[in-house]
């Protein structure tokens, strides 16, 4: 259940940014989670709600944007879409894939007032 640790990091990051911006409240937090990231996006979203209790983020809405996975196939030389780790190259069926995108776990933006 490392999603709760990650959610606690989210709260710390957002609080620090909001305080820096002299914001009084945070209404929305948008997270970016790649399709190949080491995290279950829905669980992270749920855990953010738990971790937000009794913080500046208590009333914030958490949204998750899923970023697609991409890989370069060393077999056929193509840049391809990759839905999850363990799937073959959709072009040639090989597994010699170098992930190029989709591992992100970020706080993309926050809406504050």
């Amino acid at each position: 259940m490392h999603e709760l640790s990650l959610a606690e990091n989210v709260i710390r990051i957002v609080e620090a940014a909001a305080q820096q911006a002299r914001a009084r409240r945070i209404s929305r937090v948008r997270l970016g989670v790649g399709a190949l990231a080491h995290v279950e996006a829905e669980t992270l979203q749920f855990c953010c709600g738990l971790a937000a209790r009794q913080t500046m983020l208590a009333d914030a809405v958490f949204e998750v944007e899923r970023m697609p996975g991409r890989a370069h196939c060393n077999g056929c030389g193509q840049d391809v879409a990759l839905e999850r780790i363990g799937l073959p190259c959709p072009q040639c069926g090989g597994f010699d894939l170098l992930v190029t995108a989709g591992e992100e776990m970020q706080v993309l933006e926050i809406v504050v007032a």
Binding site: H2, N9, Q106, L108, V111, V112
Partner: protein, 290 residues
């Protein structure tokens, strides 16, 4: 502050966080942007009246702050610091990951028994509860620090930094040595957390399913070596070694694999050779030292 129109409500800067990107402020009435966001591609529409009146500074409108801050940034920064500290001393550090019961601690004990004439060794043990594993390591005469994560399911870079401080305080972190970090038995969560190790080593025992690498791809993908342990039990099991290796290499192309049994000693020389090569590299990379 915009040097053309003077707008700059809030003077928002986010220190240490990715710079704020172009993003229109939510308040449509203003048509201004946060400072730093606009590089003057924005049109200065005719403004009626003094700026202060138009921008209504007493109103506290909602605004969007673009952060693009990695959720694991603080862990990764600490991991980098751990890595630099270890590298400066020529210490070869490994993060051993597996499910509970794969034989990590037994492998460590046996490794230490064969290793002690080569270099100094220290061990960091991670478990939710008990100091049993650290006690087993200390019984070999090697210094060990036990991290109890309580409810935590993984070690993180902060815990390891503290454990390194403890080892160093005890004079137990020798230069040009081997550091073995046994993570909490868990094939999911430890994959995400860099501790500052040179490599993650995934251990899969043959009493588990051979499709574990496909079921838990993140962990095997994060590993630089897979050890297939308890191979002395293969005659009693239906475990397909070739299939396990093939599946591991589906998620981590080219993953080196060592088949090993601490009972019979099979594969131990290959494992010790791999450790020696890693230690040699770490030592050479640390030279010259002051």
């Amino acid at each position: 502050m915009c040097t053309t129109c003077g707008c700059g409500h809030g003077e928002t800067t986010i220190n240490g966080i990715s710079p704020v990107r172009r993003k229109r402020v939510a308040s449509a009435a203003h048509g201004y942007r946060l400072p730093g966001e606009h590089e003057h591609e924005h049109e200065h529409e005719p403004v009626a009246g003094p700026l202060g009146a138009v921008h209504a500074p007493e109103v506290d409108p909602e605004r969007t702050l673009r952060l693009e801050h990695d959720i694991l940034a603080s862990n990764d920064a600490l991991a980098d610091r751990n890595r630099a500290r270890l590298a400066a001393q020529g210490i070869f550090a490994l993060n051993l990951v597996s499910s509970p019961g794969s034989g990590k601690t037994t492998l460590l004990v046996e490794t230490i028994r064969h290793w002690q004439q080569h270099t100094a060794v220290a061990v960091i043990e991670g478990d939710q509860q008990t100091a049993n594993d650290a006690d087993r390591i200390r019984a070999t005469g090697v210094p060990a620090v036990q991290i109890n994560t309580g409810k935590g399911c993984h070690l993180d870079a902060h815990m390891v930094a503290q454990a390194l401080d403890t080892l160093r305080g005890d004079g137990a972190l020798a230069s040009d040595s081997l550091l073995l970090i046994e993570n909490v038995g868990n094939l999911v969560c430890p994959a995400a957390f860099d501790l500052g190790e040179a490599h993650k080593v995934a251990i899969l025992s043959v009493t588990e399913g051979e499709d574990k690498p496909l079921k838990y791809p993140d962990m095997f993908r994060a590993a630089d070596l897979m050890i297939l342990s308890k191979t002395d039990l293969l005659p009693y099991l239906d475990f397909d070694v070739e299939a396990a290796i093939r599946m591991a290499r589906q998620v981590r192309p080219g993953l080196p694999v060592i088949c090993l049994s601490v009972k019979t000693g099979a594969g131990m020389d290959e494992w010790l050779g791999w450790l020696k090569a890693g230690c040699g590299q770490a030592q050479r990379a640390a030279e010259p030292r002051e």
